[in-house]
């Protein structure tokens, strides 16, 4: 059986910096994987590579056994959705419009002629999908709120909703709990886990907060200076002295 996501020996360098060196892992459908590691250890670069934003110099990524190549929009249409460490929302658009762009772009169908021939309005299917998705993330009824007016916690939720509305098969989260308080973070984790259980979506989450990592369950990957230092369950990984010294410093 092929795994959902298969990352084989990927490598990225910027000039002389080896941001990611020869990292491999696999992830089955409906599984979670957390990536931890100090700042600058290449976590975001790894995620960018999987999402197609930065090309890997070497190695390959397979989604359901098919090798991925091309640009982020290509990857998005194949079912990879993501959030960003620095949120990438559309400040002057409403919440509903955020989800609408994502819904329509998922299929990338030709639109110009349809737009020219009549005023394009939201179909009832689109309305329904948006309302359902907003309900899942606890933003029900906020369709017409302009996102630029929201706080960081809600913006992260909007980004998550924008990713989830496309019904992705792999969700990539980049420090989605940073800047959130405990309640917001646990709500976010709940939403992700619930969706994953419901739809079989796989999750790769970069996390700093170990309590969030524990909440995600699943395997943990430790990345230090672009190198995979350990892999396994959180307790096993933390028990590894190499990881402890590189990442957490000396611990009593």
């Amino acid at each position: 059986m092929t795994s959902r996501l298969d990352v084989r020996g990927v490598t990225t360098s910027f000039g002389g910096v080896h941001a990611v060196s020869n990292v491999s892992f696999t992830l089955g459908a409906g599984e979670q994987l957390s990536i931890i590691g100090p700042n600058g250890s290449g976590k975001t670069t790894l995620l960018d590579g999987i999402a197609g934003r930065v090309p890997f110099d070497d190695g390959m990524v397979l989604l359901d056994g098919v090798q991925l190549s091309g640009t982020p929009e290509h990857h998005a249409r194949r079912g990879i959705a993501r959030t960003f460490q620095r949120t990438q929302i559309f400040p002057s658009l409403t919440l509903a419009d955020h989800l609408l762009v994502a819904l329509r772009a998922r299929h990338g169908s030709p639109r110009l002629w349809r737009d020219l021939l009549r005023v394009t309005t939201r179909t009832s299917g689109e309305r329904e999908a948006i309302a359902t998705c907003l309900g899942h993330v606890g933003l029900a009824g906020k369709e017409d709120v302009i996102v630029g007016t929201l706080g960081l916690g809600t913006c992260r939720m909007v980004e998550l909703a924008r990713a989830l509305v496309t019904a992705p098969s792999v969700l990539l989260l980049d420090e989605c709990s940073s800047g959130l308080d405990g309640d917001e973070a646990s709500l976010l984790v709940d939403v992700v886990l619930e969706t994953s259980a419901r739809t079989g979506m796989s999750v790769v989450a970069i996390e700093h907060d170990l309590s969030v990592v524990a909440a995600f369950g699943g395997e943990v990957l430790v990345l230090v200076n672009g190198v995979l230092l350990g892999q396994g369950h959180l307790d096993e990984v933390l028990a590894n002295p190499e990881v402890a010294s590189a990442y957490l410093g000396a611990r009593p």
């Binding site: 934003r53 002057s92 419009d97 955020h98 994502a102 772009a105 737009d115 020219l116 990713a163």
Partner: protein
């Protein structure tokens, strides 16, 4: 061999101003992130001042010192302190718009002050053109040329030395790498930025003073012709390297001089191929240079520390007041049209028709700038392509206006598609540069071919005829036709703006990274909008041409195009209303009746006023119309709250 020298040496000497200007452009860009189109205007003002001072009986040295070492740095400081330092958070597009405004003002204000009496070429700072200093082979090098080369090389070497070896230079280079890091280490960016504006202004001014003696008359167009290769050289230097830009400036001049010398003597090559070389080189540089696609990307390692400063156009929520305003607008428009149709004099009808036809062309700017968030300087050229195609088809094939206008619109769409394919990786500044090169190519070369632009006399345009009646330009029927076509194009633009394409474009404007991550293809969205914009511009161009009766290359010059962009940015680039009102304003400013009054040239005043108000684009990119509309909605909502609160209590 000596023939080669006879091309190389003058080329080298002639390359001085563009090398200096290139260094100035790169200096400003690296230190402040502004692609300064106004550099050509700064050079013009310095050259003009130099010429006028000498004309007024001052000595050459006095004139040179005043124009290069006093006026130019002053201008640099004013530009920085009063303008560019205040818009650092604005988008690069907005900064380009502001620099275009500065350019227009620098070109128009002298005309406003002193009228348009010709200014003849002043003598050079050193040497003179007929005095041969030495011979290389059989080619004599004049002392003027020698002097220019010595001054240029000396000044660039001095600038390079200052940047390499002094403390000021070190901080300036640091400011280029990371203004944030520099500020964190306790150095204020302010004097550094101002210093680099001063320095680049001095370089531009010196370029301007070196150009002036080589001209017949000191005119703005001649400065454009130096600015283009200078931008080319800056592109070749990757907008990073001063010495690279300087070398490229000289190199290009020599290359063009050699190419011009060795081109076959036939008029086709001399008149057609030769003049196009600089623009084609610029286009090729922009498309092929690997750095250009990423010109927008900051290399500041601390750039991610700051949240991006966006000028968000947050639309007010749709309330009763906003529907009321829209309804009122519609009612006023209908009532206004009725009044206009019944009561206007033919001359006014003509101005209004022209304004609406211009409004159609401006709708293409709405699509590219307001919807797609890009800046194209070539929309006037697409209008020209439409008009010339319509005119030539009528002249040679006997097509009527409507068939010709459709064909012209189609051709303009095709050409913009071709340009769009070339530009598919480009956005922001790189796209500005490519459209600039294309607009110049049209202006200086393509429209000059008589089988396109009709030569000196221009092309006679067909007059539309409906049910066998031909519509005279100043007739009400023509006005109705223009209104109908505007409505058609306006509906198209509106549908695109509120439809899927507009939604995708909006998401791309706000976060390209975010949109791509959900599957939006920026290339495709921008391409589609660009092509539709080309078609609309072509159609509007035909209509405009038909109103004018005859179109010539002078109808669609690069300056016209720049002014149009500025006018739309001032009045409103995001709505059809904005395009319409901008069209009418420009038509009024160009109307011959208002040309001269007690105030001088009223049209010129309107242009200057429009340019000034376009400066607000940096702060409120949605333009005057939207600002007023949002303001009105807010007022009414507040009033509504107040009264409803009172009735409750």
């Amino acid at each position: 061999m000596s023939q080669l020298w006879s091309y190389v040496l003058p080329g080298f000497a002639g390359g001085c101003p563009q090398a200096l200007l290139a260094v100035a452009i790169v200096l400003t860009y690296t230190a402040t992130g502004v692609l300064n189109f106004a550099a050509s205007g700064q050079a013009y003002v310095a050259g003009l001042t130099y010429a006028l001072l000498i004309e007024g009986g001052h000595s050459i040295w006095f004139a040179a010192v005043i124009s290069v070492l006093v006026l130019s740095p002053l201008l640099g400081v004013v530009l920085d302190v009063a303008l560019f330092s205040r818009i650092r958070g604005a988008s690069q597009t907005a900064q380009v718009v502001v620099s275009l405004v500065v350019l227009l003002l620098l070109e128009q204000v002298p005309a406003l002050i002193r009228g348009d009496a010709p200014v003849y070429a002043p003598p050079p700072i050193v040497g003179n053109a007929s005095d041969v200093s030495f011979h290389a082979g059989s080619t004599g090098v004049s002392s003027e040329q020698l002097g220019a080369v010595v001054i240029t090389v000396g000044v660039v070497a001095l600038v390079a030395f200052v940047l390499k070896s002094t403390r000021l230079g070190l901080t300036m280079r640091a400011a280029v790498e990371s203004p944030r890091l520099l500020e964190l280490s306790g150095v204020k960016a302010f004097p550094i930025r101002t210093a680099s504006w001063m320095l680049s202004s001095v370089l531009s001014g010196l370029a301007g003073v070196l150009i002036a003696p080589t001209l017949v008359q000191v005119s703005t167009v001649s400065y454009w012709m130096v600015f283009v290769p200078a931008v080319c050289a800056a592109v070749l230097g990757g907008f990073r390297s001063l010495l690279g830009a300087c070398t490229a400036g000289f190199g290009l001049a020599v290359l063009v001089s050699i190419a011009a010398g060795y081109l076959p003597e036939s008029t086709f090559f001399q008149a057609v191929v030769g003049p196009g070389i600089p623009f084609v080189i610029l286009a090729v540089c922009v498309v092929a240079h690997p750095g250009m696609a990423n010109l927008l990307r900051s290399s500041d390692p601390l750039a991610t520390v700051d949240p991006p400063r966006i000028v968000a156009v947050v639309p007010p929520p749709r309330t009763a007041a906003s529907w009321g305003i829209s309804g009122l607008g519609l009612a006023v428009a209908v009532a206004g049209s009725l009044v206009v149709l019944l009561a206007l004099e033919p001359a006014d009808v003509y101005v209004l028709s022209t304004g609406i036809a211009l409004g159609i062309v401006f709708l293409s700017i709405t699509l590219v700038t307001g919807v797609s968030g890009q800046l194209s300087l070539a929309q006037a050229s697409f209008a020209g392509i439409g008009a010339f195609a319509c005119g030539q088809l009528s002249l040679h094939v006997g097509w009527g206006f409507f068939a010709g206008a459709l064909a012209g619109s189609f051709l303009a769409a095709l050409v913009s598609a071709a340009l769009g394919v070339l530009a598919r990786r480009l956005r922001g500044l790189a796209l500005v540069l490519l459209t600039f090169a294309f607009a110049l190519l049209c202006d200086q070369v393509i429209f000059q071919w008589s089988w396109v632009g009709g030569g000196f006399t221009g092309v006679q345009m067909p007059i539309p005829s409906v049910f066998g009646t031909s519509l005279q330009p100043s007739s009400r029927a023509f006005l109705v036709l223009t209104m109908a076509i505007f409505a058609l194009c306006g509906v198209t633009v509106y549908r695109l703006r509120v439809g899927s394409v507009g939604l995708f474009a909006a998401s791309l404007r706000e976060s390209e990274v975010g949109s791509r991550s959900i599957g939006v293809s920026p290339t495709r969205v921008r391409f589609e909008l660009f092509v539709v914009a080309g078609a609309i511009a072509g159609l509007g161009g035909s209509l405009l041409g038909s109103l004018q009766g005859v179109v010539s290359p002078a109808s669609f010059t690069i300056e016209t195009g720049l002014f149009w962009v500025v006018a739309v940015c001032a009045i409103g680039s995001v709505s059809t209303t904005g395009a319409l009102l901008a069209g009418v304003a420009v038509a009024i400013s160009q109307q011959p009746n208002t040309a001269t009054t007690a105030l001088g040239n009223v049209g010129l005043w309107i242009e200057v006023a429009l340019a000034f108000s376009a400066l607000s684009y940096a702060w409120r990119p949605e333009g005057m119309v939207e600002v007023l509309r949002h303001g009105a909605i807010k007022q009414i909502d507040a009033l509504h709250l107040l009264t409803s609160g009172r009735s409750r209590s």
